[in-house]
């Protein structure tokens, strides 16, 4: 079976951590790439310290973030700062097509594992470095997490209400954006290698990669001099356009009216027919202009309604609407269930767990998500013996030398 997956001919040495890096190799593993994930037990992956934690138990194995980002990978512990540990890493480089790392720019150089060193032993290697701000420039050494990159690249300031401090999109936003571009970069570089025989080095700044998601706002400034501001949930085209309260605790519905047709249908569906004749709301432009009043009137009506029932009612009229899912509602969403979004797996120490499946489908060669993320060092023996062909004696020496910590 494995040989039929699209990427079964790709071997990846994954020296990434937290989310932005591991998310990119997780997808490649879903589609058959052989991914060996290096961790050091001296400094294990930060993702292991970030929630949600299975059953609220904070242990090094129970992070849902780590489990979700690393399904399908083999896990080995190596101390790359140990000279014998470094030798193992170099053997994995010889095995690999791609080396991907997401440390701060200094770390790989310090270990003698920078691109020049890797190229010396394997000229055709593709190496991708993914860090917050890129390998060069005055902020090259600025280490941190995706929420900081989201703050410094403009996303954070654009999330929230105009009369309040910014609240940003949730969490490490650039970690959601950049993995797709990192994975695409690796695949394109392999295409180039296959055609020319040349390897190369890819310097991906998570902040820069993410800026393509702000393209129109960047051009509005560079061409028009206008600085985009956060505007709550109001839209520059649609109105009404917002998140409206529903019956129950923290339950909401998103509604977006694209045109007069949607608007009339909404008024009818909510029993607000008197509003469709109200001159304050007589056109899209008028509705945008008076959206504060409009949102208040709609909220008054939705407040007593069940969000799912309302979603079905509005979608029956083809009005863009959806309840605002929390985790509990997402899990019971018939659409996500139909798409197989939640995948049950068996973890070596935790027992049954759940991860997200592939976010897309390939009709002929669908993803295979059937192996839970590795516990720390779970596959160290397997990788050393079966992939690198090390003898028992050699492995014993490595253990004694502290190389496998």
């Amino acid at each position: 079976m494995a040989d039929q997956l699209p990427l079964s001919d790709i071997r990846i040495l994954d020296m990434m951590w937290v989310m932005a890096g591991p998310a990119s190799t997780r997808v490649l593993a879903d589609y058959g790439a052989h991914v060996v994930r290096v961790e050091s037990s001296r400094r294990f992956d930060t993702a292991r310290t970030i929630g949600p934690f299975q059953k609220n138990q904070i242990t090094t194995e129970s992070s849902g973030l780590f489990l979700n980002m690393n399904a399908g990978k083999l896990g080995i512990t190596i101390d790359p700062g140990n000279p014998k540990g470094r030798e193992i890493v170099l053997d994995l480089v010889r095995w690999a097509d791609v080396v991907a790392e997401s440390f701060s720019p200094r770390a790989m150089r310090k270990w003698g594992l920078d691109y020049e060193a890797l190229r010396a032993i394997k000229p055709e290697i593709v190496m991708l470095s993914s860090c917050l701000m890129g390998q060069t420039g005055p902020l090259a050494s600025f280490a941190g997490y995706g929420n900081l990159a989201a703050a410094i690249s403009g996303f954070f300031n654009l999330g929230g209400w105009p009369d309040r401090a910014p609240c940003g999109p949730f969490g490490a936003y650039t970690d959601y954006v950049s993995p797709r571009l990192a994975a695409s970069a690796m695949l394109a570089a392999l295409e180039w290698r296959d055609r020319t025989g040349e390897g190369q080095y890819i310097d991906l700044s998570q902040a820069e990669a993410s800026l393509s998601f702000l393209g129109p706002a960047l051009l509005d400034y560079t061409a028009n001099g206008r600085v985009a501001q956060r505007s709550g949930n109001s839209d520059c085209v649609m109105a009404p356009h917002g998140i409206y309260p529903c019956a129950g605790d923290d339950r909401w519905i998103a509604i977006a009216c694209r045109d007069d047709h949607d608007w009339t249908a909404l008024c009818e569906s909510l029993g607000l027919s008197e509003l469709s004749g109200d001159p304050r709301f007589g056109s899209l432009a008028a509705r945008r202009e008076n959206h504060v009043d409009l949102d208040a009137l709609i909220s008054d009506r939705t407040r007593g309604l069940d969000p799912l029932e309302l979603q079905l009612r509005l979608q029956n009229r083809q009005i863009p609407a959806h309840q605002v899912h929390n985790s509990a509602e997402a899990v019971t969403d018939p659409q996500l269930a139909h798409r197989g979004h939640f995948v049950p797996l068996e973890h070596s120490t935790l027992g049954p767990i759940v991860v997200e499946g592939s976010r897309f489908r390939l009709s002929r060669t669908p993803a295979r998500v059937n192996r839970a993320a590795p516990a720390i060092g779970q596959d160290t023996q397997y990788v050393l013996q079966k992939i690198l062909g090390y003898s028992e004696e050699r492995i014993t020496e490595l253990v004694a030398a502290g190389a496998l910590e």
Binding site: P6, L7, G51, P52, Q54, K55, N56, I58, N68, M69, G134, F142, A150, A151, G154, F156, G159, A165, C167, F170, G171, Y176, A183, S184, W192, T196, Q200, L211, L214, P216, A217, L218, L219, D220, Y221, T222, A223, N224, V227, A228, R230, C236, Y244, D250, W252, V324, H325, N326, S327, A328, P334, Q335, F342, V354, E356, R359, F360, R361, L362, T365
Partner: protein
């Protein structure tokens, strides 16, 4: 890298970024627009605030490195031409409501019968099938369904989105990656396939895995102004400083605890806290709070101290401090500050793009990654409507008089 390959980009406003990523990577991307231009050209902002299909900055943002032709797929002749193009293309990308391409006999099955090697990419709100496949959609609707909205915003107001629409950009970037995975398989098997991208599933990535809270039997987190509520903990992530806001990771544990220790050393050195506060167990602090050994009121007091320390400093001072001392602090920047960032300037990130049609040179965001051997180049500015009709239709064997006739009949 992808220069041997041709991409037919039929997307509307939902999918434009996918083709741009493939174009950046070197593919020959042909944007196929209906006569009169893509609906996406009606999206603002507009150059000099003058509305018009050749002035849409929304269009410009997602269409570099593409050529444009017009083609009316609602006419039989237009469909025949598309079949002709698809029989030689390597990728086709579309973002119609599921079923609409098939209704025009241009669905995956139709075109695969002409070109079995075609990688056919569909970007849709909820995926090609399932009970919501034909749901009416919008950015906000997809974000609501995918999970990230409920945890973003202030606790006393509705959940809130980023004011620049994001949902279909997630889906489009996902689609480019998915197309390249299918392409690699084709290199071996010689066969294409249907790539079916769900925007709902793509934006679920933006929950940072908290969509798994309930299946993992963990407490759900809740949105909070400038942070997030995790169980009983009110985690502050954004703080007010003298000239705006900064993001600070004031968290604990084996990985982040040492950063917090370094921050507290400075807070202590500047006289904001006593030695006992400095010497708390930052590696195990979360566990101490959750077990009740450390009262939550003490955590609130610590946040107050950090807040006082930050409030007297500017964003720039704090960024310099973060660089010098290895702290997890970053300024919350405006778009203006992003464009004028010394970091982006030092890396040569921006690209000046000449638009002869409006007589302006405009600064664009640069490549998404720096490749040492095969760098991404800005080869073409975003195309005008049907700008490449002649060059592309000539290659298909059409003559000028034929093109004129096709234009008259509304085919192109």
């Amino acid at each position: 890298m992808l220069s041997p390959y041709q991409v037919l980009d039929l997307t509307n406003e939902r999918g434009l970024l996918c083709g741009q990523i493939l174009g950046d990577l070197g593919a020959d991307v042909i944007k196929i627009e209906p006569p009169g231009g893509s609906r996406a050209r009606s999206f603002g902002p507009f150059l000099d605030d003058r509305q018009g299909p050749e002035k849409s900055l929304y269009w410009w943002a997602f269409n570099r490195n593409k050529r444009s032709i017009t083609l009316n797929l609602d006419k039989p002749e237009g469909r025949t031409i598309l079949e002709q193009l698809a029989s030689k293309a390597h990728f086709l990308i579309e973002s119609e409501t599921p079923g609409e391409m098939a209704a025009r006999a241009l669905g995956y099955e139709n075109l695969a019968s002409l070109n079995p090697a075609l990688v056919y990419v569909s970007i849709s709100p909820f995926g090609q099938d399932g009970p919501k496949a034909r749901y009416a959609d919008a950015d906000l609707v997809v974000l609501a369904a995918g999970g990230p909205l409920i945890i973003g915003g202030d606790e006393d107001r509705a959940p809130v989105r980023v004011s620049v629409p994001q949902a279909y950009l997630h889906a489009s970037a996902e689609a480019a990656m998915a197309a390249l995975i299918a392409h690699r398989e084709r290199q071996r098997s010689g066969r294409g396939q249907h790539v079916d991208v769900s925007a709902q599933q793509a934006v679920a990535q933006a929950t940072q895995s908290y969509i798994l809270s309930v299946p993992l039997e963990s407490d759900q987190i809740q949105r909070m102004s400038g942070g997030v509520k995790v169980g009983p903990l009110k985690v502050q992530l954004v703080w007010q400083v003298r000239d705006g806001n900064v993001a600070v990771v004031f968290l604990f544990g084996s990985a982040i605890g040492p950063y917090t220790r370094r921050l507290m050393e400075i807070v202590h050195a500047e006289g904001y806290c006593d030695e006992a506060t400095l010497n708390k167990d930052w590696l195990r602090y979360t566990e101490l709070m959750l077990s009740g050994q450390e009262p939550l009121a003490e955590y609130e007091r610590l946040k107050g101290i950090v807040g006082q320390f930050l409030a007297g400093k500017t964003k720039t001072e704090l960024l310099e401090l973060a660089l010098k001392c290895g702290l997890l602090i970053a300024p919350v920047t405006t778009i203006e500050e992003v464009v004028n960032s010394p970091q982006l300037a030092a890396r040569g990130f921006w690209t000046e793009v000449h638009h002869p049609e409006v007589g302006r040179t405009i600064r664009y965001a640069g490549p998404f990654a720096k490749f040492s051997r095969s760098p991404i180049r800005q080869r073409r500015r975003p195309p005008m409507i049907g700008e490449h009709n002649r060059e592309i239709y000539f290659q298909l064997g059409y003559s000028d008089p034929q093109l004129e006739s096709m234009q008259r009949r509304g085919v192109i």
